[in-house]
């Protein structure tokens, strides 16, 4: 079957592809020959804007080798009041792994909500996060926003419950310049995998709270300049070998 007749129109939903020429892209858009997933993500549109994002947001990445090249995983990161941190994280993951990043937190408002979903945002509900992970995507879950982006905010407990059983990494996104100004490149530091011990059932509220707290502490530590321990894997309350 021709790529333009297949269900995904020859565009990978997980790996970033090279943008097509403007004339080819326009023909595809007019002809409706582009894929959309259940979350509203439009990989062809994302490929078109990726070079622009990379030009505007410069990043330096540490620890990207910890993220799996395929399959589901969650990156729990700090954020300020804007969209810079999720954007910097998306650029960092794209540069290091060529993987697309879905970011939880699409606003449920007309037009703007639809637009950010086209670029990879996912509705902030545990059901959508669970569905996204079961579909094998790499998902970023922001901690609660903090004033001027300082420190790690509180963890979203309902989302922590949905990510139990999946591979989870704490991530610190550190602005390059004062107040997040793009004077210097952003630093994206990816910590070692965090896992709960096996005694918690999926969705257990206490387990979710423990996971959230361990993630918050890990992000806080990396924001403060701590170098995350590796290759050890951290569990809620104690560290064990993988």
């Amino acid at each position: 079957m021709s790529p333009l007749r297949s269900a995904d129109f020859g565009i990978d939903s997980d790996c970033i592809g090279a943008p097509e020429s403007p004339s080819s892209s326009l023909r595809r858009r007019i002809g409706g020959r582009f894929p959309i997933d259940q979350f509203g993500f439009d990989p062809m549109l994302a490929d078109l804007v990726t070079p622009l994002m990379r030009a505007v947001v410069r990043v330096e990445v540490e620890g990207a080798e910890r993220i799996p090249a395929v399959g589901p995983a969650v990156l729990v990161a700090n954020r300020g009041l804007g969209v810079w941190e999720p954007t910097a994280l998306g650029v960092a993951v794209g540069r290091a792994l060529d993987r697309r990043l879905r970011v939880v937190g699409a606003p449920d408002v007309p037009f703007l909500g639809g637009l950010v979903r086209r670029l990879g945002a996912v509705h902030s509900s545990p059901e959508d996060l669970g569905a996204c992970l079961r579909a094998g995507h790499l998902v970023a879950v922001p901690l609660a926003p903090t004033w001027l982006g300082r420190g790690a905010g509180s963890p979203p407990l309902d989302l922590c419950a949905a990510m139990m059983g999946f591979t989870v990494f704490p991530v610190a996104v550190i602005p390059g310049g004062p107040l997040g100004t793009p004077i210097l490149p952003w630093k994206v530091r990816i910590g070692p995998r965090i896992a709960l011990d096996d005694s918690y059932a999926p969705g257990d509220p206490l387990g979710a709270a423990e996971l959230g707290e361990v993630l918050r502490q890990a992000v806080e530590g990396m924001l403060a300049g701590e170098v995350p321990a590796d290759p050890q894997q951290t569990t809620a309350g104690r560290a064990v070998r993988p």
Binding site: D8, P35, I36
Partner: protein
């Protein structure tokens, strides 16, 4: 061992006929009988069809009680604007559900019921999951969604009283060349109304996958609701352009007018179709893939391409004269 006697309500519809054909091929099924107000769409070799309109309650009850099914595949759920208007569809659905389920329960042989439902039961509103799984509480936003939820509730209530498992298959919208679906008909119009301010994703399901899910649910005696959704999605603007049609943007206050114009053009649309065009309709099909083992459900874009390719049938020029 009890002989498996399956009753397929709504056997005259595309799905009912397909399910009957699949059941005919199964050696585990001893007898198949079906009822509907229209005859089946294909030749059935082993299944017995009884043309009974659900409005004829006494006849339907008498037949079901006499047949005493052990399994009911309940397709007597009629979509508004598919083959009849919204009021008639809701009335026939309710009559068929009540008569078939209560008569089968009274007959005393019933072991399992699986009902056709749809993602319409979830509705779409601000703040709830956009890709709901079965754990999300249903909150329909259209009369058809409410009808489907009522069917599920009636079947589940009967199952509790009888102490038998009851499944509900919440299908994504089913379109196909032979499915009388208001959405499929709308998408094949030369110009299609779409939302001016949103372009939300929706999923589609191929009728063959829908039928296969029903037969698997019967074989496995699946209890509770299951979303039957394939991978991927489409959006109204993208789907319309893929079919080479013209999208006509409609602002929210004008949807009532748009519905009337579209109906005059030959494709009546019901509120659940407008809801899909404005807010989208998808669901998480992970549990069904796990429980039913259905890993190769056709993606939405393939279902869409099949729908448009079928529309390009070239009529035989001079066919009428040749016959004459």
């Amino acid at each position: 061992m009890t002989r498996m006697r399956v009753l397929v309500t709504g056997m005259g519809g595309e799905l009912g006929t397909r399910v009957a054909q699949l059941l005919e091929a199964s050696t585990d099924v001893d007898e198949i009988a079906g009822v509907d107000f229209v005859p089946p769409r294909r030749r059935l070799r082993r299944a017995e069809f009884h043309r009974i309109d659900p409005k004829n309650r006494e006849r339907l009850v008498a037949f079901v009680q006499d047949y005493a099914p052990t399994v009911i595949a309940h397709f007597g759920v009629y979509e508004p604007a598919a083959r009849m208007g919204p009021a008639a569809a809701a009335e026939r659905t309710e009559l068929c559900t009540v008569a078939a389920l209560s008569a089968a329960a009274r007959a005393g042989s019933l072991e399992y019921v699986v009902a056709r439902s749809g993602l319409e039961v979830y509705g779409r509103r601000v703040g709830v999951a956009s890709v709901p799984d079965e754990a999300v509480p249903p909150a329909p936003g259209s009369p058809y969604g409410e009808t489907l939820l009522r069917v599920e509730a009636m079947a589940a209530g009967m199952g509790r009283r009888q102490g038998i498992p009851v499944g509900a298959l919440r299908y994504a919208p089913i379109v196909g060349s032979h499915v009388p679906s208001p959405l499929g008909r709308l998408l094949r119009l030369p110009a299609v109304p779409v939302s001016a301010f949103s372009d939300p994703p929706f999923s589609l399901l191929h009728p063959a996958d829908a039928a296969e899910a029903m037969v698997s649910a019967i074989a496995l005696r699946v209890d509770g609701p299951l979303n039957i959704v394939g991978p991927g999605a489409a959006s109204p603007w993208q789907a319309v352009r893929l079919g080479g049609r013209v999208p006509v943007p409609v602002a929210p206050p004008l949807w009532g007018w748009a519905s009337r114009v579209v109906e005059l053009a030959g494709a009546a649309i019901a509120p659940h179709v407008v809801e899909l065009l404005r807010y989208g309709r998808t669901g998480s099909g992970g549990r069904a893939a796990e429980v039913l083992g259905m890993s190769d459900v056709r993606p939405t874009q393939q279902v869409l391409q099949d729908l448009y390719e079928w529309a390009q049938v070239v009529p035989l020029v001079g066919g009428a004269e040749a016959v004459a």
